[in-house]
């Protein structure tokens, strides 16, 4: 345990004093403040008499100048933070010649990985919690509507899921730092995978869904629903889809299903406005997404362990 603790505190202080961390926090704070400012400007047009979750609206509404909502920004930045905190975890120790010195000290090898991961996770959590709190506080001042207890709880769950999502990217980049000996390679590999997950998976899913179940103007509702089902299933390979869906369900309780198309269909066919889900039910809906994210992180961990535990540590 002493080994884990020593690694953890050293890495944490490294993170907080690093230029990387400072740049990232400035970036994310600026983006957060900008989106919430735009949201506060546009929120009046979006709220009607029947809107129940006015405070949460703040996090969803986007404007014309900045057509992105706050969760969208987070979904962009969280992977970057996760990758930035982990991509050089093990290979930088190796190239600097510290690894053999470190591993000749009385600590288990997994303590090195665990300590580094935990320090990254704490750094990430501090960033996420501080930005959400900052934005919520700003929003409160700007619109003057206090959040209800449920809204506060939903925000907490939202933060938790954001941290889990960041944890996945962190564990992935730590894995790459074990697999690749050069820091540049592991950074590029992580970023490439992120871009693939973020952009290409949905594109590929779209194409496949279109090929399997072609949809056109005259398609029936059943066909559209089937097409959408295939699209959803494939795009759920991507952790960023999983995150996006759970955020949607948490921050937009009116949506009972992560698929907006299916929602529209049900509104259209049933001819009624949906009632918001309770927090418990929202949690039930996002449960599979969250467990998948955790399982993916665990997978990365397992792979890192397997590679690192029995590896020969040479200084040259």
């Amino acid at each position: 345990m002493t080994g884990l603790r020593a690694v953890f505190w050293k890495e944490l202080s490294d993170h907080f004093s690093s230029l990387r961390f400072i740049i990232l926090s400035i970036l994310i704070y600026l983006a957060g403040v900008a989106t919430i400012y735009v949201a506060a400007q546009n929120i009046r047009a979006d709220v009607t008499g029947t809107t129940r979750f006015i405070f949460l609206r703040l996090f969803i509404v986007s404007g014309e100048n900045i057509p992105f909502s706050f969760p969208f920004f987070l979904s962009l930045f969280i992977p970057i933070i996760g990758i930035a905190l982990g991509f050089d975890a093990v290979n930088s120790e190796r190239t600097s010649g510290n690894l053999s010195r470190l591993l000749s000290q009385p600590l288990y090898r997994d303590s090195v990985i665990n300590g580094k991961f935990l320090a990254g996770l704490v750094t990430l959590s501090i960033l996420v919690v501080s930005i959400v709190t900052l934005v919520a506080g700003m929003g409160l001042r700007m619109i003057g509507v206090p959040p209800t207890a449920e809204e506060v709880l939903r925000l907490f769950v939202f933060m938790f899921i954001s941290i889990v999502y960041g944890g996945f990217w962190l564990s992935l980049s730590v894995l790459f730092s074990v697999l690749f000996n050069r820091t540049a390679t592991s950074a590029l590999a992580s970023v490439a995978l992120w871009i693939f997950m973020f952009l290409f998976v949905t594109m590929v899913a779209n194409v496949i869904a279109g090929a399997v179940v072609p949809v056109d103007q005259s398609s029936t509702v059943e066909v559209i629903a089937r097409n959408d089902e295939i699209y959803r299933t494939i795009s759920r390979i991507s952790p960023s889809t999983l995150y996006g869906e759970s955020v949607q369900v948490l921050l937009m309780p009116e949506l009972s299903n992560p698929s907006s198309t299916l929602m529209l269909i049900s509104i259209y066919t049933a001819g009624m406005m949906p009632t918001p889900l309770s927090l418990g039910q929202s949690l039930l809906v996002v449960w599979p997404q969250v467990t998948s994210l955790i399982a993916l992180s665990a997978l990365c961990f397992a792979a890192s362990y397997i590679k690192f535990m029995r590896e020969e540590i040479r200084s040259t």
Binding site: G3, S96, S100, S104, S315, T316
Partner: protein, 311 residues
């Protein structure tokens, strides 16, 4: 396997693909010894050290460090063993002191104890003035000395130094060797791997020569010299005007002479002591004239080269 040996290996083997890096090594190092591990690059010295520290697993055979198996109980070994790798690295953006503090923390040494010890050690290795400087600004020699302090932080029973003097200037080399000697005086068992023989010769009580993964010779420098050359420690080369059997016999009669070889007008005399004066008198007393006389001390290099030619 008894615990009286600091290191004991039994038929230790390490194979990389088709290459046998360490071949059935049976090594014994007693407690308190300064053992020099010699051999050319790629002889398997570093691999052996890595196996002894549990940083790599042996293909077969077993090793014990103070009675602990480095593969099964790596932490027990790492608690008592210090290791200075060949290309030692420190965290460049941390100061010398912070680097040592981290090592102390990893070893679970309480902060108050560590602070005192680190100050002492930095003074010992001559880095007290730069304790608060970032290691990134250090020269190679300074880093190597910091590495020795780093090894000593945990008060090891045994310390492994892998090529501790490679790439440092003569003055730095001298400092490093002096420090290693001072560690040995404190009772630490020391293993030095090197291919710079005359340096090792200065500090080691016993050496082992490795070639192609095998330990080809073992013993004190003097013993090895005798084994290889079959004679004494010195070799005196004499050039005379008229070599004769009588002269050779006369020289053989001088006390301390081991063996005499005749090579044209040159006589090669091996002996245990510097007996040039006595030999000169014998030659002058004979009818022959002394043209020149040279004396050579057998160095480890000769011993070492001899072994490599053989293997």
């Amino acid at each position: 396997m008894s615990a009286e040996y600091a290191i004991a290996t039994e038929e230790l083997v390490k194979v990389y693909g088709a290459k046998v890096a360490v071949d059935r090594l049976n090594l014994r190092v007693a407690e308190g010894e300064v053992f020099g591990f010699l051999g050319p690059n790629g002889a398997g010295k570093t691999t052996t050290i890595l196996m002894l520290l549990g940083l790599t697993e042996p293909t077969s055979g077993s090793a014990r460090v103070y009675g602990n198996d480095p593969t099964r109980e790596p932490l027990k070994v790492k608690r008592i063993a210090g290791y200075l790798p060949e290309k030692v690295g420190f965290y460049d953006d941390m100061t010398a002191k912070q680097n040592l503090e981290y090592t102390a923390a990893l070893n679970g040494i309480p902060v108050e104890v560590a602070e005192k010890k680190i100050e002492e050690l930095l003074k010992l290795v001559g880095l007290a003035d730069v304790a608060e400087h970032k290691v990134g600004t250090f020269s190679h020699g300074m880093k190597q000395r910091l590495g020795i302090a780093d090894v000593m932080v945990k008060d090891p029973k045994i310390a492994f130094f892998d090529e501790p003097t490679a790439g440092i200037d003569p003055e730095g080399t001298d400092q490093v060797l002096t420090l290693i000697k001072s560690m040995a005086k404190r009772g630490v068992t020391i293993v030095i791997s090197s291919h710079q023989l005359h340096q090792v010769q200065k500090v080691c009580t016993r050496v082992g020569i490795m070639a192609n993964g095998r330990l080809v010779a073992e013993g004190s420098v003097d013993e090895l010299g005798r084994q290889v050359i079959g004679g004494g420690k010195f070799r005196i080369e004499v050039q005379v005007s008229q070599p004769s059997d009588r002269l050779v016999n006369a020289i053989k009669g001088v006390k301390g002479v081991g063996n005499v070889e005749v090579n044209g007008d040159r006589l090669l005399i091996s002996c245990d002591e510097d007996i040039r004066a006595q030999i000169a008198r014998v030659i002058v007393d004979s009818e022959s004239l002394l043209v020149q006389m040279k004396i050579e001390e057998y160095s480890l290099d000769d011993i070492y080269l001899r072994y490599f030619r053989e293997s």
